[in-house]
């Protein structure tokens, strides 16, 4: 397998707050990896650095061998075409109906062939288990779980090579969370997409990822197959996955 994303010595600070501190990670093509870690450890910052939304202070981020970290705006835009992104809160555009949200990655907000775009939206909504009856609804008229699924439909509509999931199951009840987990698994398997999920939901991490990595103090301190998550031999990982108050993580 070829390496899709390479992160080398990535560092990012905000003021005096060091968030990422020499992070290294390789993600192979077609692989689904989950990055776990406490809230506030820089998981979202990691994703935003990969997308080129934040410029790291130091280090290299290669997407298919091309540098994202110090790329021009034009190059960043071209590299972003490889990505789909599911935001934690959905981040649907509330001034637009569902069908325009789903096809936004194809139209970039322009008024292109409406009939064709509605058909594309319908096809992608069907893939995430939603029907055509919601095409004309506004995001505020949807439940949290439906918003996540519409966000997922929007992320896959341009058929990206890589999808990034930011806390895909946070705020959902266990049944809805499982629906989202199933969807992510099927997308990775059916479409052959490379997936990076950041989460602190262990059930989700074990279900959707081939490999799990733990972020702590700005670095990946452990990574391994999902089956080793509860048998990692790393006291930080053990404390985190078992949810113990006592341990090396303060």
């Amino acid at each position: 397998m070829s390496v899709k994303i390479v992160l080398r010595d990535v560092a990012k600070s905000f003021g005096g707050n060091v968030v990422l501190d020499g992070l290294n990670l390789d993600i192979e093509a077609g692989e689904s990896i989950a990055v776990i870690g406490q809230s506030g450890t820089g998981k979202s910052v990691l994703i935003k650095c990969i997308l080129g939304l934040f410029a790291p202070d130091r280090g290299s981020i290669l997407i298919d061998g091309e540098e994202m970290a110090r790329a021009s705006e034009r190059t960043r835009e071209r590299l972003r075409a490889k990505f789909g992104m599911l935001f934690q809160g959905g981040a649907l555009f509330d001034s637009m109906p569902v069908w325009r949200n789903v096809t936004f990655g194809l139209t970039q907000g322009r008024m292109l062939n409406a009939a064709k775009m509605r058909a594309v939206a319908e096809e992608n909504l069907e893939r995430v288990g939603l029907g055509r009856e919601i095409l004309d609804l506004r995001p505020s008229e949807l439940s949290g779980g439906m918003q996540k699924r519409v966000g997922l439909a929007r992320a896959i509509a341009p058929r990206p090579d890589i999808i990034l999931f930011d806390e895909p199951t946070t705020g959902l009840d266990p049944i809805r969370a499982d629906v989202i987990n199933h969807l992510i698994c099927s997308l990775v398997e059916d479409l052959g997409i490379t997936a990076l999920t950041i989460t602190h939901d262990m059930v989700s991490a074990r279900k959707i990822a081939h490999r799990v990595a733990m972020l702590y103090a700005g670095r990946i301190i452990w990574h391994g197959p999902r089956d080793r998550l509860y048998d990692s031999g790393n006291p930080y990982v053990d404390q985190f996955v078992l949810g113990h108050a006592e341990g090396p993580i303060k």
């Binding site: 935003k48 997308l51 939304l53 835009e77 972003r80 075409a81 990505f83 789909g84 992104m85 935001f87 934690q88 809160g89 981040a91 649907l92 555009f93 509330d94 001034s95 936004f104 990655g105 970039q108 907000g109 322009r110 008024m111 929007r154």
Partner: protein, 265 residues
Amino acid sequence: MTNKALSAGIQAFAGIGAGAIGLFAVIGRVTLFAWQTVVRSVTPPYYPMRLLEQLLHIGWYSLPVVGLTAIFTGAALAQQIYVGGSRLSAQSAVPAIVVIGIVRELGPVLVGLMVAGRVSSSMAAEIGTMRVTEQLDALATLRTDPYRFLIAPRLFASVIALPILVLIANAIGVFGGYLLSVYKLGFNAVPYLETTRRVFQADDLIMSMVKAAVFGFFIALMGCYHGFRSAGGAAGVGKATTNAVVSAFVMILLANLLITIAAFG
């Protein structure tokens, strides 16, 4: 001088210095924001439908409040000039001062302030909410430049709509003065209109339009800038909204003074 007094003096200067640096930093950021918007808006993709939407929002939906403000202000101005002028036996100056006062000064300033209150706040709230709910990040990941998609249509629509609104407000304001003068103060309609026509000059209208375009630029710039930089959830959006309105008001009043001095000083 004791060390304590010296230290207090240095602290005071440090505070002034920090304030000045902060002010220049804000001016720099706002200028860069405006520059980026203008530069990016000249290259494709263009969003003509977004521009039309904003023209409707800023121009058409502001008409009622602008019309009411103009007619009440025109009428009140006529009454004030009549009362003040009667002390100098100069009541006949009412039509002349109404038209000059409205077109040169009150029309653009009052429309600017009213539209700033309505539009700057809504722009800051909308874009600020998009910021804190990651919709701006979502735009970028979907390869859409927020400057081109969100900021440029608002900026250009505001610069186009404000002169049109001011033109309408000028006409309604002068008409308000006319109504009060003729139906309450006892002026004859034909001489009143004749004086208005004679005193009114094209230069006054051009100045009015220039002011309106500049005010339109600052209204949208302040609304978009503060919304774009908002952070910290609902409280951050609320703060951005307040800052947008206050800074738009200040910029309008400052720009009005500078343009007036430049043109008539």
